[in-house]
């Protein structure tokens, strides 16, 4: 069952996931893919900001932060560790 990164952050789910798809077209989605959010990449939720948004994720060895509005566009599924 695919979820988005925003759901993962809401559930504070720190298990390892894999990006299934970055929805949307155009410059926005390309930029997210260029910084590393592309299909097949392993990703993990780390924490939310003190005020609840944005959230921090671990991706390809780096810590990256996305707002809920961007996280919603990234579909993920769980992988066995």
């Amino acid at each position: 069952m695919d979820r988005t990164l925003a759901d993962v952050a809401d559930a504070s789910d720190e298990r390892l996931l894999e990006i299934a798809e970055v929805t949307g077209t155009g410059a926005d989605s390309r930029r997210l893919r260029e910084i590393g959010f592309c299909a097949g990449a392993p990703i993990r939720f780390v924490r939310r900001a003190p005020l609840g948004d944005p959230a921090m994720y671990e991706l390809r060895g780096a810590l990256l932060s996305l707002r809920r509005s961007e996280a919603r566009r990234i579909r993920v599924h769980r992988v066995a560790e």
Binding site: A27, R30, I35, G40, L51, G61, A62, S65, R67, E70
Partner: protein
């Protein structure tokens, strides 16, 4: 791909070789650049755009004396979306009237190597010779990761050097490499990566390359994890953030003050000495009051700017600045901005000039422009002398509640007024004028690192120079012009009168006075007379000039702020009538809170936005708002019988 067979431009024998340094933000690019150039760089701007330009010569000890290094802006990709990327791509393609560089050093952080390799593939795709600098090798080892540069080199067909920029390891190897001939043939593997069309393909290529190198990925950075658990904790994290803001204000207002007082005293002393020593001619007075005090008005802000950028660059280099942006992003999101805009706005409480300069860390051009347009509303330190003069004269010191007095509350209220105006205008701009597609918000949180003091010192030095050059030239010109306005036309001194009285006569007949009288219809609704208007004209050079100009107009000996206040409020010993009613004084306070009265800020906005359009807009909308609010204040205060 045709770019691959494109020939390198032939290099005339006398021209220095130019090598560009390309890398993602936080890849260690700047430290590397500083180490290679021996901390000698020329900072400036690319023409027409707002991106920092840094160049420096490769140190001669590496074996070549004619290699020029270009520090490109930090980019994630060469598909230009932001201004930084556009500039990087243009420089690599041979823009700005220059030939393309003769080679590119791609800086790749070895702890996040799979994120850096796609940029290498893109650079190779341009057909320029490339080599790779793998940074943070020490951190990689400390976290039990491993990569063999030699293996990677074989895989890519281009040289790979492992370096630790802040400890100088591998710098000699890289320097020698950069000085040597650039005749490397990329491997078929690298050419394959260069042909990749999508980010997915490039990242896929990167994992294939790393897979072939038996690379060991590093373990998570434990220190960063631990510190984040504390510094980003829901409760503690917010407290730390507030402490950070308090520390920032403390630094701006308390620690910079002694140096600022010293500098302004020094320049005043110098001006007085010039007046006392040289014969009393118009030229002497121009030199003392126009030039020396004019320069003084600029360099008095230097301590604040140096301190401000030391704090900003230190916190940026050690990794907290990105966390502060992460914590405050949600609040900034309410007005359509993002976390990084907060830092620039915060700096503007010292002075809008460094604040506007600090907007360079904001990747979205729209957010950046919005921040630039609203930053001058922040209550900068130049407003304080005016606030203090007027509050002391017109607001009773009576207690309101506990330790709070009307005076204190008024000052606090003025701070809230400026902040509110900045945030509200930002919201209006983002919803109206500057609406449109924006880059998605993303923020990289680098690991906590101990910064290298020399890198910070160099960064502060660059910005101080930029400030002096930009603000200095304009302020100097403006204060000279202002001096002429206040002192011309010339008239012979009347020996019957004292020096001060003579000065007053000149001033009353000056062009500035005519301007003040000309402005009377504009400010009549607030009941400002021509003398206040002259102060407003003069304060266009810098807000705090208002106090000195009023003192000069009222020919009050010693330019003593308190005495001037009594004179304004009409409670002086001579029983003179008040020169300003309380509603007018309140209107004047509000006017100062909102008005755009600073030449240096306008000059910096022009430099940062590349034209007169946005400074003209800022001037118009801020002064319009200031006039309306001042008038409203006057009407309300008069009705309330204040």
């Amino acid at each position: 791909m045709t770019a691959l067979v494109r020939l390198r431009p032939s290099v005339p024998p006398k021209r220095p070789g130019r090598v560009a340094i390309l890398g993602a933000p936080n890849s260690g690019k700047t430290t590397l650049f500083n180490a290679l150039t021996g901390h000698r760089a020329k900072a400036g701007n690319y023409p027409g755009v707002t991106v920092d330009r840094r160049e420096g010569d490769l140190q001669r000890r590496f074996g070549a004396d004619d290699v020029r290094l270009i520090d490109l802006p930090g980019v994630y990709s060469l598909q230009p979306q932001s201004e930084d990327e556009t500039v990087a791509v243009q420089v690599l393609a041979g823009g700005f009237g220059e030939a393309p560089p003769d080679g590119v050093v791609v800086v790749v952080d070895s702890t996040t190597i799979e994120r850096g390799l796609p940029l290498l593939a893109e650079a190779a795709g341009l057909g320029l010779p490339v080599c790779v600098a793998l940074t943070m090798i020490d951190e990689l080892k400390a976290r039990h990761g491993e990569i063999d540069p030699k293996e990677l080199e074989e895989e890519l067909g281009v040289p790979v050097v492992g370096v630790v920029g802040n400890r100088g390891l591998g710098i000699d190897d890289l320097g020698t490499l950069v000085s040597s001939s650039w005749d490397w043939t990329p491997s078929p593997g690298l050419l394959h990566g260069a042909e990749a069309k999508t980010p997915e393909d490039r990242f896929g290529w990167a994992s294939d390359v790393l897979g072939a190198c038996r690379r060991q990925a590093p373990e998570p950075n434990r220190w960063t994890r631990r510190l984040d658990r504390f510094l980003l904790h829901p409760a503690i994290g917010s407290a730390v953030f507030l402490a950070f803001v308090a520390f920032f204000f403390q630094a701006i207002f308390t620690w910079a003050t002694p140096a600022m007082d010293f500098l302004s005293g020094l320049m005043d002393g110098l001006a007085d000495r010039v007046l006392a020593t040289l014969p009393d001619t118009a030229l002497t007075r121009l030199l003392a009051d126009g030039v020396i005090r004019g320069v003084g008005a600029v360099i008095v802000f230097l301590p604040q700017i140096v301190l401000l950028f030391t704090v900003i660059l230190f916190l940026e280099a050690c990794g907290y600045m990105a966390r502060a942006a992460f914590v405050v992003d949600r609040v900034m999101g309410w007005v359509g901005l993002e976390g990084r805009c907060f830092i620039a706005l915060l700096s503007s409480y010292a002075c809008a000039v460094p604040g506007i300069m600090a907007t360079r860390t904001i990747p979205s051009p729209r957010d950046r422009l919005t921040t630039i347009l609203v930053a001058p509303f922040a209550t900068c330190s130049a407003r304080l002398p005016v606030y203090i003069l007027l509050i002391a004269a017109f607001i009773p010191a009576d207690p309101v509640f506990g330790p709070f007095t009307w005076q204190g509350l008024t000052l606090t209220g003025l701070y809230f007024l400026g902040t509110g105006a900045a945030l509200l205008s930002a919201a209006v701009f983002k919803r109206g004028l500057l609406r449109g597609a924006t880059l998605p918000f993303y923020l990289e949180l680098p690991p906590y690192r101990l910064p290298r003091p020399s890198d910070i010192a160099l960064g502060v030095w660059d910005r101080a120079k930029l400030f002096l050059r930009r603000a200095g030239t304009i302020i100097l010109a403006a204060s000279v012009v202002l001096w002429f306005l206040l002192n011309l036309p010339r008239r012979p001194a009347d020996p019957q009168l004292s020096v001060t009285e003579n000065q007053r006569t000149v001033l009353e007949g000056s062009y500035a006075a005519s301007a003040g009288r000309l402005l009377e219809p504009v400010f009549a609704p607030m009941d400002f007379d021509w003398r206040i208007n002259v102060g407003l004209v003069a304060s266009q050079a810098a807000r705090e000039v208002m106090v000195a100009t009023l003192a000069q107009i009222y020919a009050h000996e010693g330019e003593d702020g308190e005495g001037l206040g009594l004179l304004l409020a009409g409670s002086g010993e001579g029983g003179a009538p008040p020169l300003l009613s309380r509603p007018s004084a309140l209107a004047l306070l509000v006017y100062f809170a909102f008005a755009m009265q600073c030449m240096s800020t306008l000059a910096v906005i022009r430099r940062e936005t590349g034209g007169w359009r946005w400074p003209a807009f800022t001037f118009a909308y801020m002064n319009g708002l200031a006039w309306l609010s001042a008038w409203l204040t006057f009407v309300l205060a008069s009705a309330a019988g204040a």
